[in-house]
Amino acid sequence: MTETEIRQAIFDSLRKIAPEADAQKIQPDENLREALDIDSFDFLNLLIGLHQRLGVEIPEGDYGQLTTLSALVRYLSQRLTGGRS
């Protein structure tokens, strides 16, 4: 899966959580939760959406690495290309 496809999967999941926000405008290094005003409940829904779409289960211990869009793309990319899954 390419980074563009991963990014698309993230945007699709975010659209369900924050339909009024334009996720495409988020800067790669901006804090995702602050930029979209999403709380821990929404963030959990984002991870559920990504799990259902990409099959990647993100352990709680890794949440701290996932603050920005670029970090999330990098993390998912590693997990999908033979990193630990």
């Binding site: 009024e20 409940f41 959990l44 991870l47 559920i48 709680e60």
Partner: protein
């Protein structure tokens, strides 16, 4: 037209989900009513048969106006309906009202027949009379359109033109009333959350992401459990006295994405496990944000919990949602220096606050509650 909030005076029928002749049972959603805040599903409280729909979608009606006739199981057919439906089901001989409400109604010249009661079983309370006295006379109800077809679906003119303004207005009314009437007192305590978070970690490790539990579910569990030990904070201030609730219905302050706030309640929270509370929380947050809450969920909360920890706030000083008598606030869990048995360490610390009505309880009782809450969260295995 049910009262779906402390300061609701009128609502708009958005749609009927039933038609004459339909059998209904307790809990069925029979209609959707538009309030200033949101569209709310209206439940039926007893089993029976829909005899007649009086209100039409699009009608804006004062609280207390009959919307439909439902013949209760075993009840004889209702009398013929006059052209102007200023009638009550079965024409009760005596309106149910508290003695104080009766006295006040006589003093103020308020006709109890026309007051909508918000007390137990629809009984009229003192504040219902006060509200009726201070409210302009309700507009005349349109005559029943005999024989007109029941229109289902959303009418074009049902919702207010500016829903966001309506939401702001509803919040303004409730909060202004709170600030005007309730002498708040505030207490706070710091809680070492290391054991609670360890417990949650272990709990979540065995679960897929879909079934994970957020710390807030544990906080709700602790509040519900704590209220069983300090029940004076769980109830309503009505007619100048505290009315305790045997059930803990936890109102959860839920921000909406387009601004504004709803406080849907998790019913019987004291009987639910942490996992069940998480499921219930997911359900009411999702429905609050998509506008599918039921009337009972927004009117029956016995206390409110607000959690602003997601935004980095450390301490919450809440405004009580009347006629409730307390609000519990939680801030962000942050690593802080913590002295324990003479040793200084770093612990994840949560600040819990209580805003309580000084008419109903004193600081001593409030302090007992926060102490119970602290003890429960520092030994989560007992929850």
């Amino acid at each position: 037209m049910p009262s779906l909030g402390a300061d609701m005076t009128a609502g708009t029928l958005v749609q009927w989900n039933v038609k004459p002749g339909d059998a209904v049972k307790r809990g069925d959603i029979i209609a959707i009513v538009g309030t200033e805040k949101a569209d709310i599903e209206v439940e039926v409280y007893e089993a029976g048969t829909v005899e007649k729909l009086i209100a039409q979608p699009g009608d804006k009606l004062p609280v207390g106006t009959p919307l439909a006739f439902i013949r209760a199981e075993g009840e004889a057919a209702a009398p013929p309906i006059p052209a102007r439906p200023v009638v009550k089901k079965g024409a009760p001989a005596r309106v149910k009202a508290s003695p104080l409400a009766r006295k006040l109604a006589a003093e103020l010249g308020v006709d109890l027949e026309k007051v909508h009661g918000t007390g137990p079983q629809g009984a009229i309370e003192r504040h219902d009379v006060e509200q009726a006295a201070g409210t302009p006379a309700p507009p005349a109800v349109e005559p029943v359109r005999e024989g007109s077809p029941v229109a289902l679906g959303r009418p074009t003119e049902a919702a207010p033109a500016e829903p966001a303004l309506g939401m702001r207005h509803a919040i303004a009314m409730a909060m202004a009333r709170s600030n005007r009437e309730i002498p708040h007192y505030y207490l706070s305590t710091k809680i070492d959350m290391s054991k609670a978070l360890d417990w949650l970690d272990r709990f979540n490790q065995q679960r897929s992401v879909e079934n994970r539990v957020l710390p807030v579910a544990l906080l709700l569990k602790a509040v519900a459990h704590g209220l069983l030990q300090v029940p004076e904070l769980n109830g309503f201030w009505i007619d100048d006295q505290l009315k305790l609730s045997a059930e803990v219905h936890l109102g959860v302050a839920t921000s909406l994405r387009r601004g504004g706030l709803m406080i849907p309640a998790i019913h019987a929270a004291h009987q639910k496990s942490v996992e069940e509370l998480m499921t219930a929380l997911r359900d009411i947050i999702t429905r609050a944000r998509s506008g599918r809450l039921r009337g009972s969920e927004i009117t029956e909360g016995t206390i409110t919990v607000t959690n602003l920890g997601d935004l980095g706030v450390e301490t919450v000083y809440g405004v009580i949602y009347p006629p409730q008598v307390a609000l519990v606030g939680f801030g962000k869990i942050t690593d802080q220096p913590w002295a324990d048995q003479g040793m200084l360490g770093v612990r994840p610390v949560l600040t819990a606050t209580l805003a309580a009505d000084h008419r109903a309880t004193d600081g001593h009782r409030g302090a007992q509650f926060l102490e119970v809450l602290r003890r429960l969260l520092e030994a989560p295995e007992n929850l």
